[in-house]
């Protein structure tokens, strides 16, 4: 657990710590299984059954059903594992960034580009 006195919360940021790892274990285990193409297909074929097989919590199941990335993180999802689920949905990290920040994908990409505008190269 973070000590909020020593480590004040970082806005818009969830540290994936022991609490999150415990809470998110089922969701992250399901996402880890997607390293196997047969498991990705099984999820696509019957999403509800596949989620049930991994005993997702109701909050995790709802977040997956809603493609709600912030909800998955709140339910203990870790982005390295969630990225594998996002791949099944055809979402790359700009799409995921847009979903989490309330931007369109074009706006999110521009937000990234704008941060490089002031740089001199080298």
């Amino acid at each position: 657990m973070a000590d909020p006195e020593r480590d004040p919360p970082i806005p818009g940021t969830t540290l994936f710590d022991g609490d999150a790892a415990v809470k998110g274990y089922a969701l992250n285990a399901m996402c880890y299984s997607f390293n196997d193409t047969a498991n990705r297909q099984a999820f696509v074929d019957d999403e509800a059954a596949y989620c049930a097989k991994f005993a997702l919590t109701p909050a995790q199941r709802q977040a997956v059903a809603d493609r709600d990335v912030l909800g998955m993180i709140a339910a203990g999802g870790n982005i390295y594992y969630l990225a594998k689920l996002a791949g099944i949905f055809g979402l790359n990290v700009q799409d995921v960034g847009a979903l989490q920040t309330g931007r369109t994908v074009a706006e999110f990409k521009q937000f990234l580009l704008d941060q490089g505008k002031e740089l001199a190269h080298g």
Binding site: A2, R6, D7, I10, P11, G12, T13, T14, L15, F16, D17, G18, A21, Y25, N28, A29, C31, Y32, F34, N35, D36, T37, R40, V69, L70, I73, N78, I79, Y80, Y81, L82, A83, K84, G87, N92, V93, Q94, V96, G97, Q100, T101, F108, F111, L112, L113, Q115, G116, E118, L119, H121, G122
Partner: protein, 279 residues
């Protein structure tokens, strides 16, 4: 005696692999990043390494949360990539150097570090992409590897101070290895980026510059920030700078910057490439 010929650092964003696969290196989006590798290729041809000690982080290919080591040293005769969940073309396998791996492990434990030891270890884009960038279009990698994985996934992460001390222990191992190998140290990942949360897309050129400016001559400066502070300054995945810090420790006491390139953005990441010579 083995010779440490230098250190090479670069970001390892998965999208770089896609750009290489498509041949997009000279397109306007990618050119500023890939142009930073011309000097890397020249330098590697000059220093001619035959072994690479690679500090990197697993992204849920080899390790899951059921058993997640803080530091893990590969001790396999070969290392393979596998499907990371996206069904992409697999990266080439690597030859290992088990004898050197065990010497590194023995030195680390003698120095009171406690790494996991892996006689089997899948390696993901964090290891393969820096090699694809360094040695494009080779059929087989010209170096054997000793891969070292640092946990950047699940907090608590090792502190920057611990990562640097761990790297310095690896340096003692390399400096005491009786073989004639020419060793390049590699640190992969970073720099600032955050993939998750409402702050997704965060980058911080000011902190990245601080890291790049101090890595050669004063790496201890990077250890004055706690992990929490590094996340604040660098993003949730910016903590991959731990790989750079450990690699800097493994290079040795003194270093000189040979080359750097820094570009925003590559995918969601502030991408950096750096070469250091030992002094």
């Amino acid at each position: 005696m083995a010779e440490i010929v230098g250190a090479y650092f670069t970001s390892h964003v998965p999208a770089i692999g896609g750009a290489i696969h498509r041949g997009d290196q000279q397109t306007p989006y990618w050119k500023p990043f890939f142009d930073g590798f011309v000097r890397v290729h020249e330098w590697l041809a000059e220093v001619k390494p035959d072994v690479a000690v690679v500090f990197n982080n697993d992204h849920g290919l080899n390790f899951f949360l059921d058993c997640l080591p803080t530091f893990a040293v590969g001790a396999a005769a070969e290392y393979h990539n596998a499907d990371e969940g996206w069904g992409l073309p697999l990266y080439k396998p690597f030859a290992g150097h088990p004898d050197l791996s065990w010497h590194v492990i023995e030195t680390l434990v003698a120095d009171e570090f406690d790494p996991a030891t892996c006689q089997k270890m899948l390696v993901d884009h964090a290891l393969s992409i820096p090699f694809e960038l360094a040695w494009p279009e080779v059929d087989a990698w010209p170096v054997k590897i000793v891969p070292i994985a640092i946990n950047t996934v699940q907090h608590p992460l090792p502190s920057a101070k611990r990562a640097l001390a761990f790297g310095r222990s690896v340096h003692r191992a390399l400096a005491s290895w009786p073989g004639a190998e020419r060793v390049v140290v590699i640190g992969t990942g970073g720099l600032s980026h955050q993939l998750d949360g409402a702050r997704a897309g965060f980058m911080n050129p000011e902190y990245d510059r601080f890291c790049l400016d101090h890595l050669a001559n004063d790496p201890d400066a990077l250890t004055h920030h706690s992990i929490h502070e590094i996340v604040r300054l660098s993003g949730t995945q910016g903590v991959e700078v731990l790989n750079w810090i450990a690699a800097r420790g493994a290079l040795g006491p003194t270093a000189r910057e040979v080359h750097r390139n820094y570009h925003i953005p590559i995918s969601n990441t502030a991408a950096a490439t750096l070469l250091l010579d030992p002094v």
